[in-house]
Chain length 216, copies 2
DNA sequence: TCTTTCTGTGAAATTTTCTTCACAAGGAAT
DNA sequence: ATTCCTTGTGAAGAAAATTTCACAGAAAGA
């Protein structure tokens, strides 16, 4: 049973949505203001928050920021009567999962909700293990350099990498390549050249995210 | 001197933009198709790519994905004649820096470009050092747990943390707290309670990003 | 063929990280 | 005052990560 918080100042719309979603097997709660939404979300776990952008006092955008801060795992779907590209852009940048505009077909909303839940299902479960592998690979700067190198030039040979890194002892590089291979970040083909696996590319993305994020 | 790649199938628009931007002190290049854009971007570093969404053959959205993959640092501004919220949402989700719609005022574009450059200036320079600290802090799972704990409950005392983590030797926790303190992720107030610094909150965000990212 | 380069292994040495333990000052509670 | 809990410090040891070195087979070039 998934918990959905409906945030809108229009009581009728809340009631409608609530009824429909309850009928579809979701558990719903309502909040009529941004402040109330934040309080409820802080007190209780929601899987999804349906958030109206236009509300008196605390704007939906502020609520979005606040919710993201206190509950980063909760998926937020922005809803608005006056959809503008700018608002949509801002909302997604701030971490909303999706953005739909009134009037919406109920099917459209249901699909959007399912999609968001799918996302969180993934994020939730499966692999907390990967985390350890990935982070311990990333914790070494030589390995980070190797990943970057391979992202720029797929299929490098050992000595190419060694020279590029300007490390004199090639076995040192072999050591790190082995670790990267064991964590599934890189692979080798028959010609012995190294390249990033799918996992490796994800890892690279992570690195980039981290870098850009840390310097903001 | 900043390099801008203008990607649009409309030659006249390209020429116009190019002239204006050159006049403003940017160096520009043009590409008339998605394919050409990707090739050029692969061959040369651009700071900004102005990318038309609607193009024959390879759609702007595909080009966006491709560019993000090969040049994650390049900022991409999507431009489109038929702005829709959906497109904007998709573009930003896929990593575009911004999204503007034709017809746009040239000032608007210039501001958008400056904003994007500002972003990359930040991401570029400043701190590659933080990276090492942060990643080595994150590489240990006890420390990750501490960060998560503190994110849920600011201002915990030593023994609170110790009990929450179910670790019997408190000095072990002290050890990790010290490391976190030294890397500037946490601090203590006069009452000895620990809390996340601003840096620490960023680090937490990183962790969340990584987690959600790794399980996709 | 002979030499050189590339790709690696395995063991030992070193460094770094983490854990454990002995101890102690300060405050609160009895 | 005595006892208990909290918050540490510092040294020592254990474990893990990294580096260095000696060596070797396979492939490539001369």
């Amino acid at each position: 049973m998934k918990n959905i918080l409906i945030v809108d100042d229009d009581a009728e719309l809340r009631a409608n949505l609530s009824e429909i979603l309850t009928g579809k097997g979701y558990r719903t709660e309502e909040a009529s203001s941004g402040k109330e939404a934040v309080e409820r979300a802080a007190a209780q776990e929601f899987d999804i928050v349906l958030l109206d952008l236009m509300m008196p006092k605390m704007s939906g955008m502020d609520v979005l920021s606040e919710l993201r801060k206190i509950k980063p795992k909760t998926k937020i779907i922005m809803i608005t009567a006056f959809a503008t590209v700018d608002n949509a852009v801002e909302a997604i940048k701030k971490g909303a999962s999706d953005y739909i505009s009134k009037p919406f077909k109920i099917d459209e909303l249901l699909i959007t909700i399912r999609r968001a839940l799918e996302e969180s299902r993934f994020e939730e479960g499966i692999k907390r293990l990967d985390m350890d592998y990935t982070l311990s690979s990333l914790s070494n700067s030589i390995r980070r350099k190797i990943i970057k190198l391979l992202s720029m030039k797929d299929g490098m040979h050992l000595m190419e990498i060694v020279r590029e890194l300007a490390i004199d002892d090639h076995t040192k590089v072999v050591f790190h390549l082995k670790i990267l291979k064991e964590s599934g970040i890189i692979e080798q083909d028959k010609e012995k050249s190294y390249f990033l696996t799918k996992e490796g590319k994800k890892t690279l993305d992570c690195l980039n995210i981290l870098e850009s994020y840390l310097s903001k």
